[in-house]
Each structure stands twice: as C-alpha cells, then as structure tokens.
C-alpha cells in the first residue's frame, strides 16, 4: 500500500492518513476483499502513532470504504465514493495554487478555460 503524507498540511493527521488510504484504494492497487496491512505497520512506516492510523481506519469504515472483520483484519469493502476522491484532489490543487499566488477564483477560471 502506497501512502503519501504532506508534512506541511495543516489538517489533522488522522484526516490526512484517511485521505492517503482512500486514494490508495481508489487508485485500484487494493480491490474489494483485499486485506490492508496492519495499522501498526502503517504507523511504523509513516512514523506516527498507531492510534492515529486506527482512527483513520475507523473513519473509513464509517464511510463504507473499509470493513473490520474479526480474524481477518481490515479489508476493503468498496471503492470510495468518486466524489470524495476528486474533492481531495481539488483540495490539494487549491493548496498548491495558493502557494503560487493564485486565488481560488483564478483556479476556477483556469478550469473553465481548459474544459
């Protein structure tokens, strides 16, 4: 499972982890029914607390992306809602645009021009 975290992202860490997992599942490297790596391994790799990862996993379970099963660990239940994936991408796009001095309206204008 490939996870990416932005170290400068001001949002709470568990939200970022949930987003990263959601993206990994949406990109298709994990299909419904596949088992996720243990939370403890994800936390160790990311260098964060295991409880933060667990909280992210619980959020995704509540969203219907993941399923917790006794003895089977955490598995993928369904692909996340496409809208939430695009929302996340747009959010990071807007953040990047702000870094370059673009306002949100400028970005909306750009999208109109492109489509």
């Amino acid at each position: 499972m490939l996870l990416t975290l932005d170290l400068n992202d001001p949002r709470p860490l568990h939200e970022q982890v949930a987003e990263a997992i959601r993206r990994a599942v949406a990109e298709g490297s994990y299909a419904p029914g596949d088992r996720l790596p243990p939370a403890r391994d994800l936390a160790a790799a990311l260098g964060i607390n295991a409880n933060t990862v667990l909280r992210a996993l619980r959020d995704l379970r509540d969203e219907g992306v993941l399923e917790f099963r006794r003895g089977r660990g955490v598995t993928v239940l369904s692909r996340p809602n496409p809208r939430s994936v695009i929302e996340e991408k747009l959010r990071s796009l807007l953040d990047e645009a702000v870094q370059y001095g673009y306002r949100h309206d400028d970005v909306i204008e750009l999208i109109r021009e492109l489509s």
Partner: protein, 345 residues
C-alpha cells in the same frame, strides 16, 4: 509480457541448449564407463580375486569383493549418479537458461566422472600383483587422488558448462513509473506476503513441540525436553520464514520476517541503484525461504510477483511480495530524490 511467439522461441532455445549439454554429457558418460570397465579387465591377470575394496584406519585392507561384483559396483554407482543427472537434465529444459544450474550439473558430472576412475586407479594400484586381497598395499596418500579427481573434475565440468546465456530477464532500464512526489511530502509503501501452507506447517510443528513440553512437564520425563525444545525451535524458525513484510520509505527498504517482525533487514537508500518487479517461482530459485548466495538472494515465500532491488555494488536482492510494482516505483522515485541532493528536503 511475452507473446506466444516469443515464448516458443525461448523454449526452442532451451531445447537447443539441452541437446548440446546432453550430447556432450552422454559422450562423457560413455568415455568414463568404458574406462571404468576396460582398466580392471586389462589388469585382471595381475589382480587377486576377490579384490580388496575397503581399508581400515590402520591402512590394512579389511573388506573384499569378488572381482566382477566390485567392477559392477563401481560402474553401477557411476551409472546411477550420471544417469540421474542426465535424466534430470532431460526433463528440465528450462534450467539450462540459468548459468548456475548448468554449472552445478556440469560440476556433478565432471566431479563424479573423475572421482570414480580415481578411486578405481587407487584400488587397482593397491591390489596390483598381490597374491591375496589381505596382502594388498595400503592406500597411503593415494586416497587423495580420488578427492583431487573430484575437485578437478567438478571445476572442469563447471567450466565446460559455463558458456551460454545466463537468463534473468532483467529490464535493461529502470522502470519508468514514478510516484509523483512534491517536496515536503513523505511517501511510504507497506506490503506483506504470507504463505498459508508454511504457516499451517509451522503451527503444527509448534503444537507438537508444545505438546511434548507438556508431556515432559506432567510425566516428569526429562528426556523429552530435548526433542520438545528442538521441535519448538524448528516450528519457530518455520514460522519466522512463513511471512514477510516490506516497508519502503526515505530511509530505504526494511524487511521484517515473521509475525514477531524479527529479524529485520535494512537496505539503506544509498545502496540502492534501481528496483523493479519480476515474477519468480520456487523452482527458479531452488525452493522456499532465503535462497541464493550473498549478492543474489531471493526471499521466497510464495511464487509470483517479486520486488527486486538492484544494489549500486551490482548485487541483487529479491523478495516475493504483493504489489511489488508500486514498491519499485516508489523506491526508484526515492533513489532519484536522494541522488538530486538534500535540497528537496
């Protein structure tokens, strides 16, 4: 991957390699067999019957065989060994693509092919002109001749089998896939693989070990402690190599064995040149577990997708793991990032 045309071409090349190997090996087999039969027959008049065939620690002969039995025994052993090697080569055309497999087979045939004649020469020399097998000479340093034949033959056989392709379908370039990574982003890849049969096997061995320990405890039979400990340790060892986890981050690659995540192996990012995904099977690497020599190790838990790490030093390290392609993409990205310097940090 490879189309049907490419595959049949590959198979034809295997068959060609095998035919060449088999024709040379069969000629060698015939030559050695003739020598093994002809030499004793030519000297038969000067040998006792039965002949001395075994020497004790004191150097005096302590066992004998009738002349013909001894001859058949030596020829039979050689035929069994060489025939086994040839038969194995006959059914495994694909193994000729690998240089190490060819060299191992060549070494076996070459080594045995000089060991048996060496043994025969030593035996014949000791028996020569002795009126009775009990009066045969001692072997002296002659016994070393057979060992020297084994080593020399093995070396020559391996050398003779060396020419030809060494198949490891390696991508000539680094796979192009990269993970888009902005400065200030931390990317990690975590994956694992476990073998169901190996886990079940190690679990049952552990259970047997535990059961023996309980018996030793209840029955007070202290003799049971030794097998209990050995079985338990064997189960633990099998359990350790029944699953593996791999973590890739900026620091490099970390490999964890077993449910205890111990032992672990760390490959610093500076040692990595490139990485790719490849399909490998236990039949390619010689079985399950940690296989190969340092510099070409494969950690084989199950056949299929493997992550291969190419070291800057030229060595290779492979581990069977799910989703290896993403892992390779991230590792290559991190290698590029490390090479461009710390400015991206």
């Amino acid at each position: 991957m490879t189309g049907p045309g490419a595959r049949s071409l590959e198979e034809r090349a295997d068959v060609g390699l095998r035919a060449r190997f088999l024709s040379i090996a069969t000629a060698w087999f015939g030559l050695v067999t003739v020598a093994l039969i002809a030499a004793p027959l030519a000297l038969r008049d000067r040998l006792p019957d039965p002949v001395a065939t075994h020497w004790g620690a004191s150097g005096a002969p302590d066992n004998s065989m009738p002349f013909l039995v001894s001859l058949l025994f030596q020829v039979g052993l050689w035929t069994l060994l060489a025939g086994g090697a040839l038969g194995f080569a006959f059914v495994n055309a694909a193994m000729f693509r690998r240089r190490t497999s060819r060299m191992a087979l060549g070494a076996a045939l070459g080594g045995a092919g000089l060991f048996f004649p060496g043994l025969q020469i030593v035996t014949l020399m000791a028996n020569l002109d002795a009126p009775h097998w009990r009066q045969a000479d001692d072997l002296g340093w002659g016994a070393l001749l057979a060992v020297a034949g084994l080593v020399l033959g093995g070396w020559l056989g391996a050398l003779a089998a060396r020419p030809g392709p060494d198949e490891r379908p390696e991508p000539s370039a680094v796979p192009t896939r990269r993970v888009p990574l902005r400065p200030g982003q931390r990317a990690v890849w975590v994956s694992s693989v476990s073998s169901g049969p190996l886990t079940a096997l190690s679990g049952s061995v552990l259970a047997v070990g535990g059961g023996l320990a309980v018996l030793a405890l209840i029955g007070g039979d202290s003799a049971l402690w030794i097998p209990a400990t050995i079985t338990f340790l064997a189960g633990l060892l099998a359990l350790t190599f029944s699953s593996v986890r791999v973590q890739i981050a900026e620091e490099g690659v970390v490999l964890f064995y077993g449910p205890l995540r111990l032992p672990r192996k760390h490959i610093p990012i500076e040692r990595v040149e490139r990485a790719w995904s490849e399909r490998r099977f236990p039949s390619d690497v010689g079985g399950w577990g940690i296989r190969g020599l340092p510099g070409a190790v494969t950690v084989m838990i199950r056949g299929g997708e493997c992550l291969v790490v190419g070291y800057v030093s030229g060595g290779r390290f492979a581990v069977s793991i799910d989703d290896a392609e993403s892992g390779a993409a991230l590792l290559n990205t991190l290698v590029d990032r490390a090479a461009t310097g710390p400015s991206t940090r």
